[in-house]
């Protein structure tokens, strides 16, 4: 068992006592929806069902970040022809790998009588078993028969059982039942006239929330037995998922989304200005921050706000060159590291993953950093820049500006700019002792950097003060709650849920900002599974539906 899970279980048992403290406001949820799998979810499911040795190529259509999360954007996403072509390409590649000689013996679980001919028995066994994981529910009898018939026809056409099986499996992998997480509703026997999610939809919601992937065997079994409609049954499953090692991957997926790390892979730094920066640095920077967060919130079951102040982190060889920390790990592994007291760096906002991601290729950007900090970590909307800025002031040939502070001071002269830059720059300027690649510095263009900064009334002398300012900012934990709830429901938060989110914020504070407690509370809440009846289609739409 993960060493943090014991404390997690302890906290969960304490939760039962704490649960008596307040009554959760009622919600009515949203209409049942169909959410496109995100790229991380797609990859997780394929790895969980077939193993991580199955490679996935292809490009996913971009999602629009909604409620601060790509996962929520997926609830609005559509599939373009080019996007579907990519799904089809990935599906065929996965199906070919699963059925190839290197994998078939242990993945398919049965063998045909004759590899050159169809074999309905083995096809049914495999497709039924794999379909249950991919569709997150058992296949209906007719549905399975159709898939088996497809495999049979294809085997005849292509001259081999495995080719036929691959064709049918490829079809499953582009089916809407796989690509979309579809809410199925049924009349609620406990509330006349109301609807509820069916057990399998509940299982999916719970599993994608806590594990970032499809339900496993045990969760599907519990759904089949109707246990998820029973409070105790639901709690048992939620606590099982929370206590499992797989939980860490699920929580990482959440923070990866919240921190907008999808962009980190394509960070590009100028190799002349920042010779120590490399693709390995970018990749390791993401891992460093996720490891740091996991240690605080999961392993130690600590106060979420400590991620902004902790000096404890991990470094790799590549990161060691950026942090100027010797790392004696020729195997490329990770070393625990604690920034010393005299080092101003502490907390994830001072990590390379934040400072380099929100900078330009050849220099830092207080504005980008300030905007990212407010939007990603405090859930505050920074207005877009106006379209009518007079840039002549910036282009003043006699300007002596050599530092970012001097350059940005011009914005104060422009009323149209000043409003927004007042929101972003004071905190961003406080990070100027870290350059665009995430390295410490004291001067820019030969001029000593004035790295004073402020955040919502808290002033600090340099980047060392930003962690405490974030830690004590009430918007930081409220933002985590807001994002966590939206991530759990995987759709935009509804007006009828606002009071519930406020309630969660209060509960989070009561629980000393412990993330596992928050996860647990949401996982077993009525709110997570609440659903409104779907609006019936218009008669015209129904007529046009073949």
């Amino acid at each position: 068992m993960h060493r943090g899970f014991a404390s997690l279980l302890l906290s969960l048992s304490l939760l039962v006592l704490a649960a008596c403290g307040g009554r959760a406001p009622k919600t009515s949820g949203a209409e049942p929806g169909a959410r496109l799998l995100t790229e991380p979810q797609y990859r997780s499911i394929i790895a969980d069902v077939f193993g991580s040795q199955i490679t996935i190529g292809g490009t996913f259509d971009p999602l629009v970040r909604t409620n601060g999360l790509l996962t929520v954007g997926a609830s609005l996403a559509r599939v373009t022809p080019a996007g579907f072509e990519q799904f089809d390409r990935m599906a065929r590649s996965i199906a070919a790998q699963v059925t190839d000689p290197a994998h078939r013996d242990y993945l398919i679980g049965c063998a045909p009588q004759d590899v050159a001919r169809p074999d309905d028995r083995c096809a049914e066994q495999f497709l039924g078993r794999v379909g249950r994981f991919l569709f997150r529910r058992p296949l209906e009898r007719e549905e399975l028969a159709t898939r088996v018939a497809e495999a049979r026809r294809a085997a005849v056409e292509l001259g081999g059982f495995y080719d036929g099986l691959a064709a049918s499996l490829g079809g499953m992998l582009v089916s809407p039942s796989f690509l979309f997480v579809i809410d199925v509703v049924e009349p609620d026997p406990d509330a006349r006239g109301s609807m509820r999610l069916d057990a399998y939809s509940k299982a999916s919601r719970l599993s994608f929330f806590l594990w970032g992937t499809a339900p496993d065997e045990e969760l599907l079994r519990a759904a089949a037995q109707g246990e998820l409609h029973d409070r105790r049954g639901l709690e048992r499953q939620a606590e099982r998922l929370l206590a499992a090692p797989r939980m860490e991957a699920g929580l990482r997926a959440f923070f990866d989304d919240m921190m907008a790390f999808e962009d980190i892979a394509r960070i590009e730094k100028d190799s002349i200005i920042y010779p120590a920066f490399s693709a390995a640095v970018a990749s390791d920077a993401r891992e460093q921050t996720l490891r740091t967060i996991m240690r605080v919130v999961l392993e130690e079951n600590g106060d979420y706000r400590d991620i902004f102040t902790t000096r404890k982190t991990y470094v790799s060889g590549a990161l060691g060159r950026i942090y100027h920390v010797p790392v004696d790990r020729p195997d490329g592994g990770w070393t625990p590291y604690e920034f010393p007291e005299h080092d101003p760096r502490a907390g994830i906002v001072t990590h390379v993953s934040f400072t380099a991601l929100h900078s330009h290729a050849g220099r830092s950007s207080p504005t980008l950093r300030g905007r990212a900090l407010r939007e990603l970590l405090l859930c505050q909307k920074v207005p877009d820049p106006p379209g009518n800025v007079d840039f002549s002031k910036f282009n003043d040939p006699h300007s002596p500006a050599r530092t970012a502070r001097e350059r940005l001071s011009v914005h104060a002269l422009q009323p149209a700019c000043a409003g927004c830059h007042k929101i972003t720059d004071p905190v961003g300027l406080g990070m100027e002792h870290i350059d665009g690649a995430g390295q410490l510095r004291t001067a820019e263009s030969g001029v000593a950097i004035d790295a004073r900064g402020s955040l919502d009334g808290i002033e600090f002398a340099d980047v060392g003060g930003i962690g405490p300012a974030m830690h004590d900012n009430p918007a930081a934990p409220a933002c985590l709650v807001d994002r966590m709830y939206a991530y759990a429901t995987a759709r935009p938060t509804q007006r009828n849920e606002r009071k519930y989110v406020k309630y969660l914020e209060r509960e989070f504070a009561r629980d000393d900002y412990r993330v596992p407690a928050l996860l647990h509370k949401i996982a077993i809440s009525d709110a997570l599974y609440a659903v409104r009846p779907p609006v019936e289609p218009s008669p015209a739409f129904a007529r046009n539906t073949p």
Binding site: V49, F50, T80, P176, E268, D270, I273
Partner: protein, 458 residues
């Protein structure tokens, strides 16, 4: 460990599969016999050569006063200044549209966003992510590209797949292909049927795939019963995408007509000079990748793989940069000092010049492919535009647009068209009408227009 495998299976038994290589075909010599005597139609059917449509995008506009000399009325001849001098040899294939405006009706100018959305959708966005209507390339594709292998081909040399300026709506935007190698595999990989190959045998695997896809289409009615109205519309688009792939397979199951213009290019990975191609936004990398991609797209068009394409040279915040320089192209437009003698920002101008040279390279890629008695450019129309007139101030009036190609003789070229403040949507409307989209007006609010630019019609 997987959900499928019992725990007893050892890791050692899990072997990594290999991915097979691909074959690169060799083009046969040209066969002029397939065209009619004057090279304007296919001899077998008498049908005219197909019309194609494309877009070319560049970020950050022009340097006013140093790109194209303004005119007061529409007339023949485009006066290319220093920034655009690379386009001079292509004047006979170009039209330049200057003096067209982009009224936003009180909506914000979302910098580097409103401009491209308005010119390509005919509507001004009300947020920095809204795409309120389909972009014009997709309206054209709906009209002319139903039965091609790719409904559209979207590529970017700017390295950012999501920066594709083609979308059906905010949440329906395809990723652009950002890797020349992947683009090559997608077009000319193992699924490509060489039209000039003597033998053709329909691929049984495609027959099977089509059958499987048809089966998925039948799930539609069942699914729709479960969903609210907005999700039904979203799922409907998914099923439309399936039908598009079925159409694509239909095309691939038929023997392609011999095509003298089609010659499979060399793979950039296996045989090209650019092995281990760099990815990134250093300007030389962008230029090299763009050149390769333009040549591949041009050949995809010549080989009838697509009739509609979108090429991005640089993104709307052009992150292009020079090695060792702290300023990107975008930063330069706002922060570089204007040289008083020259009258512009010298390094930003330098990037703009490289961009127009990129456009010239793009034109060359199509011009170098013979088709009938002319070149590919005779049978296509490209809408080449940007999102601002002058990036330094984000201005939206006078945003420059070029059209490239003669659209099968439907338009005149070599013209400088003066907009006199008319909405820029007139250019898009005219382009779509030329391509056969049955519309008599386009756009919303002040961007709505029904005024075709008749001066360019042949």
């Amino acid at each position: 460990m997987t959900f499928l495998i019992p725990k007893a299976v050892s890791r050692r038994s899990v072997l990594r599969g290999a991915i097979g290589g691909t074959t690169v075909g060799v083009a046969l010599p040209f066969l002029d016999a397939f065209l009619n005597d004057n090279g304007t139609a296919l001899a077998a059917t008498g049908a005219p050569l197909p019309l194609r449509f494309g877009t070319w995008y560049w970020g950050l506009g022009h340097t006013p006063g140093h790109a194209i000399t303004p005119k007061t009325r529409t007339s023949a001849g485009i006066d290319f200044l220093e920034e655009c001098k690379a386009l001079k040899p292509h004047e006979q294939y170009l039209n330049y549209f200057g003096g067209f405006n982009m009224p936003l009706d009180g909506r914000s100018n979302y910098t580097h966003f409103s401009g491209w959305v308005a010119s390509r959708t005919g509507s001004a966005p009300s947020s920095n992510s809204e795409i309120p209507a389909p972009t014009l390339d997709l309206l054209v594709a709906d009209q002319i590209a139903k039965n091609t292998r790719f409904q559209t081909l979207d590529v970017t040399a700017a390295g950012i797949a999501r920066e594709n300026y083609s979308a059906r709506s905010t949440n329906s935007r395809a990723a652009a292909e950002a890797s020349p190698e992947k683009l090559y595999q997608r077009i000319f990989g193992f699924e490509f049927a060489d039209p000039n190959k003597a033998d053709f045998k329909p691929d049984t695997r495609m027959v099977v795939r089509k059958s499987v896809l048809s089966g998925i289409g039948e799930e539609r009615r069942t699914l729709f019963r479960k969903l609210g109205s907005s999700d039904r519309a979203r799922l409907d688009e998914y099923f439309t995408s399936i039908r598009q792939l079925e159409n694509q397979l239909d095309v691939q199951l038929q023997k392609p007509a011999p095509n003298q213009a089609c010659a499979i290019p060399v793979s950039p990975r296996r045989d090209g000079p650019e092995q281990n191609m760099p990815q990134g936004l250093e300007v030389d990398t962008v230029i090299a990748n763009h050149r390769m991609m333009a040549q591949m797209v041009a050949m995809a068009v010549a080989c009838n793989q697509t009739k509609v394409f979108n090429v991005v040279f640089s993104d709307n915040f052009s992150h292009m940069r020079r090695p060792g320089q702290t300023y990107t192209h975008h930063l330069l437009t706002h922060e570089e000092t204007q040289d008083k003698e020259l009258g512009y920002q010298p390094v930003a101008f330098w990037f703009n010049c490289r961009t127009m040279e990129g456009l010239a390279t793009f034109i060359d890629a199509f011009k170098n492919i013979r088709e009938g008695s002319g070149t590919l450019l005779d049978n296509m129309l490209v809408f080449a535009a940007t999102e601002t007139n002058y990036a330094r101030v984000h201005s939206l009036d006078g945003v420059p647009v070029f059209t490239i190609g003669r659209a099968g003789g439907r338009i005149k070229t070599g013209l400088h068209v003066v907009g006199n403040g008319d909405p820029i949507t007139r250019v898009g409307l005219t382009a779509m009408q030329v391509m056969g989209v049955p519309i008599d007006s386009w756009g919303t609010q002040s961007l709505r227009t029904s005024k075709t630019i008749t001066e360019i019609l042949a």
